[in-house]
């Protein structure tokens, strides 16, 4: 097991009580993440921004992947 060992830390309590409406699946998040990341990098309004933000707050794996795509696009545009 991990070091967390069943601890209800403040972060965990916050995460357990997150409001994850409106529903967006990881698959839909994957479908949207390319245009979302481009909008973030361009500073324009992403499609379904609110739904994506709710999902990314609630889903660390998707967050990690979107964050990485944004960083890669930024790196590309800096080259």
């Amino acid at each position: 097991m991990t070091s967390h060992q069943g601890r209800l830390s403040r972060d965990v309590v916050e995460s357990l009580t997150l409001d994850t409406e409106p529903w967006l699946s990881c698959e839909e998040c994957f479908d949207l993440m390319d245009s979302y990341a481009e909008a973030v990098v361009a500073g324009t309004e992403p499609r379904r921004r609110h739904d994506m933000e709710v999902h990314l707050r609630a889903c660390p794996a998707c967050f990690q992947e979107v964050e990485s795509l944004v960083a890669l696009l930024q790196q590309d545009s800096a080259d």
Binding site: H4, L8, D11, D19, D31, C59, L69, S77
Partner: protein, 242 residues
């Protein structure tokens, strides 16, 4: 540090919050691969669905882009695999890029052009690589689905301890009373133990989507229970139309 991954978002990814990034000249985003591999006006779909030399070139260039994205992802997650050497890291990136290419080609018909093709392609490599890194990071860890919750609460100072404890106890009660055993175990594994969703899905023979849905329902039930017990303000929408 455990393999829990990044702390859930206080970092804003929203539009306009990135530090001074601007869209650049499309030509400046070309990679060093074939000179035009990343160029905006390239007809990737046309080339990839053609035959002969054009398709071969497109496949090769596309693979180079996927390897680049996979290496980028391995580098970002390197902390999860401290014993991974440089050669192994590169092998991992190449293997993930191979897999990503297969997935991508299988979904070519779903490309809608809402983003650049290269951005659309990158995400396949990022997903595949992240899955593989997480899988390896957890490979030697046994994951026992537990019902156990420890109520030791971390707080900043004595004045917030009572409040934090009260909420933690209420959440624990909600988990016991409002969740099914399965929902409780999934919520504990994902949010308390910090098992990545794709790793847990593989161990349980289910999908990331199905586990996230279970978690979504569990969170809604916990919130509803807390509202009913007066621990969360009423009137905040949490359950949609259900």
């Amino acid at each position: 540090m455990s393999a829990r991954g990044p702390e859930p978002v206080s970092v804003a990814l929203a539009a306009g919050t990135t530090s001074g990034a601007t869209t650049s000249d499309p030509d400046s985003s070309t990679t060093s691969i074939s000179g035009r591999a990343g160029s905006l006006d390239r007809d990737w779909l046309g080339e990839l669905t053609s035959s002969g030399a054009a398709r071969e070139t497109a496949l090769r260039d596309l693979h180079v882009l996927l390897v680049k994205a996979a290496r980028h992802q391995v580098a970002r997650m390197r902390g999860l695999l401290p014993r991974l050497g440089a050669v192994e890291a590169d092998e991992l990136a190449n293997a993930a890029a191979d897999e990503a290419l297969v997935h991508l080609l299988g979904r070519l018909s779903t490309f809608e052009g809402r983003a650049r093709f290269t951005t659309w392609a990158y995400k396949f490599a990022i997903l595949q690589t992240a899955n593989e890194v997480r899988r390896r990071a957890w490979a030697s860890t046994e994951i026992a689905l537990s019902d156990h919750l420890d109520l030791a609460v971390e707080v900043d100072g004595p004045e917030s301890r009572a409040e934090a404890n009260e909420l933690a106890h209420a959440v624990a009660a909600a988990m016991t009373e409002a969740l099914t055993t399965y929902q409780r175990r999934i919520a504990i594994a994902l949010l308390v133990e910090g098992v990545p969703v794709d790793v847990l899905a593989e161990r349980l023979g289910t999908t990331r989507g199905a586990l996230y849905k279970t978690l979504h329902v569990a969170r809604s039930r916990i919130r509803a229970h807390l509202v009913a017990a007066g621990h969360l303000p009423a009137g905040i929408p949490f359950g949609g139309t259900a």
